[in-house]
Each structure stands twice: as C-alpha cells, then as structure tokens.
Symmetry: C2
Subunit: 294 residues, 2 copies
C-alpha cells in the first residue's frame, strides 16, 4: 500500500473513531477554551447543547420553511481594530452565515449589551458602523434590544446579531455532502482578520500592516451560485478556528479525509509570522449557526 493511501486510511480511521465514541461534556466549569473554537468548544456543543436542544446538523444557518435564520454574539476586543470594528463585524458575520448557508440576507435584528460608563461617542461610532455595514450588505435592521450592565460586567459592548434570509433555490449546500474527489477552493488570503485582532491586542511584540478583511460575502456567493449552482457542496466563512476548523467540520460531517497542501494555502506575506502556524492547529468549533468574531 502506498504511503499516501496508508495516511488516508489512518486519518479516516481517526475520524471514524471520534465520530463513533461521541463527545461528552464532563468539565466542572467553563474555561476560555470552551469559547476558543477547539475541542473544548466542540465538546460543549456536541456533548451538551446540541443533544439538549435536539440539534443534529452543524450548519451556520438553520432553515424554517423557506426562511434561513442564524445568530451570533460578538465579544471581540478591542472593539475597533485595523480594517473594522465590532459593529461592522456583527453585521458581516451574520450576513455571511446566511450567504454561505445559501440564503439571500434580508433582515437583521440587533441586541446590544452595553457597559455602564461606555463613552457615548464609542457607541455612536458603532451604531454608525452597523448602519453603514447593513446598507453595504443590502439588509434592513428590523429591530433590537438594549441592555446595560454594571461597569466591568462587559467589555465596552457585546453585540448579538440575528439574520433572516430567503433560501436560494440554486443552493444545495450541506457540510455533510462532500465526496471523495471534491476540490476545496479558498477564495482569498487566510488569517487576516484574526491576525489584525491579535496585533491590535498587542499579543505579539511586532507591528504589521494587517487589516481585518471583514465584508459581506453575498455578492460573491450570488455569482458562485449562478455559475456553479447545484455542483457546489458546501460554502463556509472561515472565522473562529480558521480554515482548519472548517475543513475539520466538513471532514467529520461527510466522513471524508481532506488533503491540504500547505504551499497552496494563500497566506499573506505580512501575516506569515503569526497566521501561518495558527489556522491549522485548531479543531472544529461550531454548533448549528455558530460563527465567531475572531
């Protein structure tokens, strides 16, 4: 048996073993790891949340009739970073979960949790960013909610957006539909958003001109559906956990192995030192409509 075949068999065996035993949530308390997009997150989702709510498929947007709905909380800090801000991210993240779910984004709701003492100018800036991002993405903000919590009980602001979209009849997308021989297309350089956030937090002792690439993906998805329609298996907006998380998710859902040639992955030069090692060390991280801010 050639080496490549033995490697594939080994990987497929690992996938089957993980799938067979299922995940049980046995931790005694919540740690940062449960939100980091790795195995602890997956265990929380697949071992506690999904079974409690009777959820099965791990997709970004759930379908109710011909309507798709998806929700996400954004807790990114700092709230403003090169290339974007929490408000813009909260719109694009949710719009994109609809888009990659094969639904045309129509409307958003917005729930704000604000920290006592938040400067009004910071709030005003985010409200403007949200409004501008919604216009750019072609969605209407139809309503929302605002809560204020005591100083320190929030990090400036947390934003939860829920998107409602119309399922596009051209789309037949599911993470469980990948088949041997399928190709993976990466639409642009990876790791830019995550690297921009980490740099803005000062987590590395370096400076680099890396900007978040947050934007609405519906125009690209629309063109892709028109060109390739039903031959597309699955689309994803790689967020928390990165491209590796997306590939893990598809591999687990479809029961296939994925071959990644590292040299074929578009890593931008400025981010090489940080993002090159990062996107591939994390595991899958989603429950049905999860998407992360960073």
């Amino acid at each position: 048996m050639p080496v490549e075949q033995r490697t594939k068999d080994h990987v497929l065996g690992l996938i089957e073993r993980v799938q067979a035993k299922g995940l049980r949530f046995r931790d005694e308390q919540i740690t940062m790891a449960h939100g980091a997009g790795g195995k602890a997150t997956l265990t929380l989702i697949e071992g506690l949340l999904a079974p409690a709510f009777g959820l099965t498929e791990l997709a970004d947007a759930a379908v109710v009739g011909d309507v798709a709905v998806t929700t996400d909380s954004f807790v990114v800090k700092p709230i403003r970073f090169p290339g974007g801000s929490i408000g813009e991210l909260a719109v694009n993240g949710t719009v994109n979960d609809l888009a990659v779910g094969g639904a045309r984004p129509l409307a958003l709701t917005l729930s704000l949790i604000l920290e006592e003492g938040l400067p009004a100018d910071d709030l005003r800036a985010e409200v403007e960013a949200i409004a501008a991002a919604a216009v750019a993405a072609g969605v209407t903000i139809v309503g929302g909610d605002t809560k204020v919590v005591e100083r320190g009980r929030c990090d400036s602001m947390y934003v939860t957006t829920t998107g409602v979209g119309r399922v596009d009849p051209r789309a037949q997308l599911s993470p469980g539909s990948a088949r041997p021989g399928d190709l993976i297309l990466v639409s642009g350089p990876i790791g830019e958003h995550g690297t921009a956030i980490m740099l803005a937090r000062g987590e590395f002792e370096l400076e680099a001109p890396v900007e978040s690439d947050t934007r609405s993906l519906w125009p690209a998805v629309d063109v892709l559906l028109e060109a390739a329609g039903p031959s597309l298996r699955c689309l994803r907006d790689a967020t928390r956990g990165g491209v590796a998380s997306v590939l893990n998710e598809i591999a687990r859902a479809s029961g296939v192995a994925v071959t990644v040639r590292e040299t074929d992955v578009p890593v931008p030069a400025a981010g090489t030192g940080t993002s090159q090692s990062d996107p591939f060390r994390k595991g899958p991280c989603r429950w049905p409509t999860s998407r992360s801010s960073c």
Copy 2:
C-alpha cells in the same frame, strides 16, 4: 369645563409636546438608567438607535414577509429566582414578544455569553430550563452560538434569544391603533416577576412568597385572537418598565390619553409593598423588538 376634561386636555397636551419635540441623545456616557426602561432608555432608542437604523414603529416583533422576528438579551441576576431562571425567561420573553405581536411562535435561536469559571452544573441547569421552556412553548431551538468571556466580564451568563414566528392572519395589532373609548384589559396580577427578582437580590429588607409568573402567553393569545380577532388593537407582555411603560407606549404611539383607576389594577397582596408603587412611575422603554428580563 369639568375637572376630568381639564386633566385629559392637560395630559394630551403633554403627549403632544413630547411627540413634537422628539428626543435627542446627548449623554456623554452610558449609565444604568439607559437600561432601566425610563426616559434615558427611550432617549437612547428614539434619539440614536431608531433613526440610525431607519426604524419607525415601536413594536415588539418586526415583520419580514409573513414571518415575524424579535430579539432580546437577558442579563438578569441572580440567574435563578423563585418561579424561574434566566434560561426559562429567555425562552418565554421572546416567545411572548412574538405572541403579543400576533405571530405564532415557531423557532428560536439562542446565543450564550458565558463567564469563565461558570460552574458546569449552573450551565447544565439553564440548558435544561431552556429546553423545557421551549417544549412547553411549542417552539424548536434551531441553532445558536456560544462565546466565553474572561472572569468578571459577564455575570454568570447572558442569554440572547431571537424568535421567528408566522404572522397570524387573525391579528391586526399595532401600538398606534388605540382609539378614544377603547378598554384596557390586564390579564393578571402585575409586578410579580419584578418583585420576585428584587426580593431575590435582597433589595428590600423583607421576605415574601412572591414568584415570577414567567410562562408562554401564546395559548392565551391564540384563544383571544379566536374570540375577538380584528377588534383587538394591541397586545403587550408587560416587562421592563411594567404596565405603566406599556400604557405610555400606546398613548404616545396612538396620540391618546389613558385613564388608569388604581383600584382596578390587580396588585397581588404579597407584592403590595413593593410593586404597587413601582409599575407606574416608569416611562416607556422600547425600541421595535425590545423586551426586558426584569
């Protein structure tokens, strides 16, 4: 002119003056008052959020096609209290915003912000409470998101629920549709939930057997729509700000005055000392889909 007529004219004059001048958000920072359901909240909503997003009508649920959607963040503390918990409240609150908007609740999404260090048993209890409340309300939880924030950056957990419902053709409801001569029906004792929370927080130096009355209102709304259908003007689930807030909202939206006979308002005996004075001192507090946890 009789005294009652002069009072009515005075109140109508006040309403017109408030409506005419509009509200401007001029505060320099966010304070707890912006979340308390009074004038500061209204100013934040009507003076900043609603105009930025092009929102006009202040209803609990927004309509997209024949689908109604509403969202709410729940930040109540303590997370468990006599008669309920944050998870149960997050389901019922959102289901009820659909119901009083004249929509049959179908599905919920759920976004959890968890505090690092949260005991797993507390999370498990809330997940079970959410699942049980969803079954009781006849809604499916179709997906969600989970984030973890550093210890202290959240109060155990914050829960955001978004509800999707089907607009019921029997319902023709709007806060702006009240007319002179309409009657206000209060379906049960007021102030129980708010009083239960304040007692659980130890905000009063007294103990009383008051329990939150959190539950799904769709069965009651369903019966009401069947019996009275299009002759109903507006329904509300009185939450943050209480019944007074609801009446203010309707009065402002419809340009009418509301006569309240205090002795006709059902105040439960055990809550008299606290809730009797409370529900009527607060102003309106909503933007289109707002609903509060306490």
